[in-house]
């Protein structure tokens, strides 16, 4: 601001708002920017605290359980800096890290990041639609659309140039997700069908189509073992390179970098393109956007399709990164508690921001891996209960985000006028 303006302001300060701002507005202005992390952090801490109470009810020590979960996530690997000398495991030279790359912690971390990868992508899917004022509950279905096409193409075309094959799987998987969500977008844009309803229905369609395709006698079922409801494995050329750990031990593929790159893409599209500008305008106030000459219907469709593209990519990355095949069971289990729904939690907790979705995804990825049966010592906490603990914490986080604890706090202060 120029001196001239600030001098004027010194004489005539802006009039105070009548009464005080609405709590929601107040909350936003107070917790905007980096400070926006405060409320989600408090939310998370509270959720973990209440999760600890549940552990206490089972007669176990919550602190010991959380310590074990922490160790299981592999995140302790970062803390071990300098404790290990770098060495070359199994003769493959991955010398980028000064840390011990072959420790148990390293393997745990690889698993955590493998789980985090699709959560970031499905989280971005939910976040993008949210920015346009839509609630995409169909991340799971779009994820399956990506999965199905990635498996199909990955297990076809043997001998194709490897980089081309994997790119084809990723690209078609992405488009499949975009098309699947785009259906809901078109329905919303043309006849006003609510996206929550249509995406849920599309979820079920994707689940049952997948069940049929990979079920016994299905067209994409394993060609060698006719009794097992599972797909063929994708060919090696369709697999993403594993850059850390062993392929046989489910090492970490470069999918994590694809997810991180998509975080950046998301930020650019939302904040630095006219498309993102329109999407946000429609999301905040469709009537004002329409008045500004923005086609609301077009943006509903585009935002939904882009949202679905993220989720479809998540499915394709999972297939080409470590799963390599899909079973009927995976689809039916995923239908109610799959990665698409965890992405929903990540977007909510991360408040649809780039950094927020990234960190929230890591939190949920770590939690899932840290409480998985493989990682947790049964004498500390029963792994089957631990899985539930994850779900409890996840649910509490969503509940508290919905409650908007920060808003409640501001409201209480406002009432007292402190």
């Amino acid at each position: 601001m120029t001196d001239e303006l600030s001098a004027e302001e010194a004489i005539e300060p802006p009039p105070p708002p009548d009464g005080i701002p609405q709590p929601q507005q107040h909350f936003r202005s107070r917790f905007g920017g980096l400070k926006g992390a405060i409320a989600p952090l408090l939310t998370t801490i509270l959720a973990f605290f209440m999760g600890g109470l549940v552990v206490l009810l089972t007669g176990k020590n919550p602190l010991r359980v959380y310590k074990a979960v922490w160790d299981g996530t592999g995140l302790n690997w970062f803390v071990h800096v300098g404790h290990h000398s770098a060495r070359v495991p199994f003769g493959t030279a991955h010398m980028w890290f000064p840390w011990d790359t072959a420790s148990i912690a390293a393997q745990n971390l690889q698993q955590t990041l493998l789980v985090t990868t699709p959560i970031i992508l499905t989280g971005l899917a939910v976040a993008f639609a949210f920015r346009c004022g839509m609630f995409n509950i169909g991340g799971q279905g779009q994820y399956f659309a990506g999965t199905i096409f990635a498996v199909w193409l990955g297990s076809s075309f043997n001998g194709m140039a490897p980089w081309l094959h994997v790119l084809l799987c990723l690209a078609v998987g992405t488009v499949a997700g975009a098309v699947w969500a785009g259906i809901a977008g078109i329905l919303k844009a043309t006849v006003g069908a609510h996206e929550v309803i249509s995406t849920i229905m599309l979820n079920w369609i994707a689940i049952w189509v997948g069940s049929y395709l990979f079920g016994q006698g299905g067209p994409l079922q394993n060609s060698a073992q006719k009794s097992i409801p599972i797909s063929n494995d994708i060919f090696d050329g369709a697999k993403l390179p594993v850059f850390w750990g062993l392929k046989l031990l489910q090492g970490l593929s470069i999918g994590i970098f694809i997810a991180l790159a998509m975080l950046i893409v998301y930020w650019i599209v939302i904040n630095r393109t006219t498309l993102g500008f329109e999407v946000r305008a429609v999301g905040f106030n469709p009537e004002a956007a329409r008045y500004g000459g923005v086609s609301v219907a077009r943006n509903y469709f585009l935002a939904m399709a882009i949202s679905g593209a993220f989720a479809g990519l998540a499915g394709a990355v999972d297939i080409t990164g470590w799963e390599y095949r899909i079973g009927q069971n995976d689809i039916q289990l995923g239908g109610s508690s799959g990665i698409g729904f965890i992405g929903l939690a990540a977007a909510l907790l991360g408040r649809n921001t780039t950094l927020g979705v990234g960190f929230a995804s890591l939190l949920f990825g770590a939690l899932i891996n840290g409480t998985s049966g493989r990682q947790l010592d049964p004498s500390i906490f029963r792994p089957d209960l631990a899985g539930n603990l994850t779900t409890i914490i996840q649910g509490l986080v969503i509940l508290f985000v919905g409650l908007n604890l920060g808003g409640v706090w501001v409201w209480l202060k406002r009432r007292r006028g402190a």
Binding site: T2, Q25, G293
Partner: protein, 508 residues
């Protein structure tokens, strides 16, 4: 009246984070008087009244009723002390009847559990006859007019035993006729011993209805004076803190060719009813054409049709010689139509957006604000900084979200955006709704400037005063038809009569 005050607020201070909303405010109310509380938006009127109604607790100061200190911790306590409030936005249940709304929460009962409808109806009728507040106890709220709903609110307060009535901007939603009737009601209430606090920022009303006037400015009482002998100019000076030009200063218009031509236009609203019927008019370069009318007589649909937000069912819209009938909003913008929408929160602004983004709501498509789909935040911010300075927007930097601004400054942002688009035709729909005196002066001056710059200005307003002081020609719309054209020398009575379908104007 020589008696001691009925109610006294002593040394009231109220602090909100970053704002001292009331600073050592003294205010008293004598029995049977109308005491107006005058001030710009944000002066602290509502805060003070919310304290009196038990919605906020003051940080300092005390409230005395009949000379005894009272503690108002809740609205319930306020009601028990005989204080009633009619909010600007009514708090009625649309699907219930007038009588049901009035007795709500204190229903007369039969046998302990059953509501006694007959008793409720009887009591409502008694009250309404006693104070001259005519309402039909059996009418459903959603089928009654706004003026009727306000009466119901007043009756509700009286039913709960209010001796002191706080009316918060009561005329903001009323037509001139309804406002006149409200003033009659106020006189009848004070005649029967009720005392009234009348909150407003409209000077002429305050002078008409009040016995005394207290002016607040930035949370501080400027003065309390008798309404008798006070002038609008004097009150405006107290309110704003400087001389305010109440009359619009303008030269005679020099109209040239028509920039906007509307020919035999008919438009259908969302319910499928024809609300604009065979309307024809021209707006010429260098003139302000005013459209007067009571709310909901087709104005909104007419504006939407011109702005490309609604399809027309018949007729033509021509902008500077180009046929723009049924063009979409973007084409209309490109053809040179600027539009200050009647509801700046719903349409004019994206409230969570920064001022930069709001100012770029049309211009983001064009260089230098964007290139090949990529935004240029630096150019957008530079543009915003320039416009905020030119239009004297206070209380916000380019990155400030729009909701953080006061209403007047928000409207300046809308104005800046529309005028910066260099429109040929500027539609101004209720451009000063809810603004205070200082901001109204600013908006009016800018509109006249646009006229003098050779744009065609189409002013649609429910405020007759605004229409009369700004327009070079005046059209009156009634039930979707243009029922008359008047010169700016017409009287409010002439226009008022035409607005209610009473008479035809000269040569429509």
């Amino acid at each position: 009246m020589p008696e001691g005050p009925l109610l006294e607020l002593r040394g009231i201070s109220k602090r909100f984070p970053g704002v001292l909303a009331n600073d050592d405010v003294n205010f008293d109310l004598r029995p049977g008087e109308v005491h107006a509380l005058l001030g710009e938006n944000g002066a602290g009127k509502s805060t003070l009244m919310n304290i009196l109604y038990g919605l906020y607790t003051p940080d300092e100061g005390q409230i005395l009723l009949h000379g005894k200190p009272i503690d108002l911790g809740s609205t319930k306590a306020a009601i028990e002390h005989g204080i009633g409030m009619v909010h600007q936005h009514f708090m009625l249940i649309p699907v219930m009847t007038v009588a049901e709304n009035i007795v709500l929460a204190t229903e007369p009962r039969r046998a302990g559990v059953l509501m006694d409808y007959d008793a409720a109806r009887r009591r409502v009728r008694e009250l309404s006859e006693r104070y001259g507040l005519l309402v039909d106890p059996d009418a459903r709220i959603d089928r009654t007019s706004v003026g009727q709903q306000q009466r119901v609110e007043i009756l509700k307060a009286l039913y709960r035993g209010a001796e002191i009535l706080i009316l918060d901007e009561p005329t903001a939603v009323l037509t001139p006729q309804e406002a006149k009737e409200l003033f009659e009601i106020i006189r009848s209430l004070t005649g029967q011993g009720k005392s009234i606090i009348f909150i407003s920022h409209k000077l002429n009303e305050v002078l008409e209805v009040a016995d005394r006037v207290t002016t607040l400015r930035r949370g501080v009482v400027v003065d309390t004076i008798d309404a008798e002998g006070a002038t609008e100019e004097g009150l405006a000076r107290m309110m704003v803190g400087r001389e305010v030009l109440l009359r619009v200063d303008k030269k005679p218009s020099q109209p040239e060719g028509a920039l906007l031509q509307v020919e035999h236009l008919s438009v259908v609203d969302d319910r499928g009813l024809e609300t604009v019927r065979d309307v024809s008019f021209d707006v010429r370069a260098g003139e302000i054409l005013g459209l007067a009318g009571v709310d909901a007589n087709g104005q909104s649909e007419l504006i939407d049709a011109i702005a490309g937000l609604r399809h027309v069912s018949a007729g033509r819209i021509v902008v500077d010689g180009r046929d723009m009938t049924n063009a979409d909003a973007k084409e209309t913008l490109d053809a040179g139509i600027g539009h200050i929408p009647e509801d700046r929160h719903r349409r004019g602004l994206v409230l969570p957006f920064s001022l930069t983004e709001n100012l770029a709501l049309h211009a983001y498509r064009h260089e230098p604000n964007s290139r090949r789909g990529l935004l240029n935040p630096r150019a957008m911010t530079a543009r915003a900084r320039k416009l905020l300075r030119e239009f004297d927007v206070r209380g916000g930097a380019p990155a400030t979200p729009a909701f953080a601004l006061s209403g007047g400054n928000q409207q300046k942002v809308v104005l800046a955006r529309e005028i910066d688009g260099d429109p040929k035709v500027l539609i101004a729909a209720q451009p000063t709704r809810g603004l205070d005196v200082g901001a109204i002066e600013f908006v009016h001056r800018r509109l006249v400037e646009q006229r003098d710059a050779g744009r065609a200005v189409f002013l649609v307003s429910l405020e007759l005063e605004e229409i009369l002081s700004l327009s070079d020609r005046i059209l009156v719309i009634y039930e979707g038809r243009i029922v008359g054209e008047f010169p700016p020398t017409a009287t409010e009575e002439e226009l008022g009569l035409a607005m209610t379908g009473g008479s035809q104007g000269k040569a429509a």
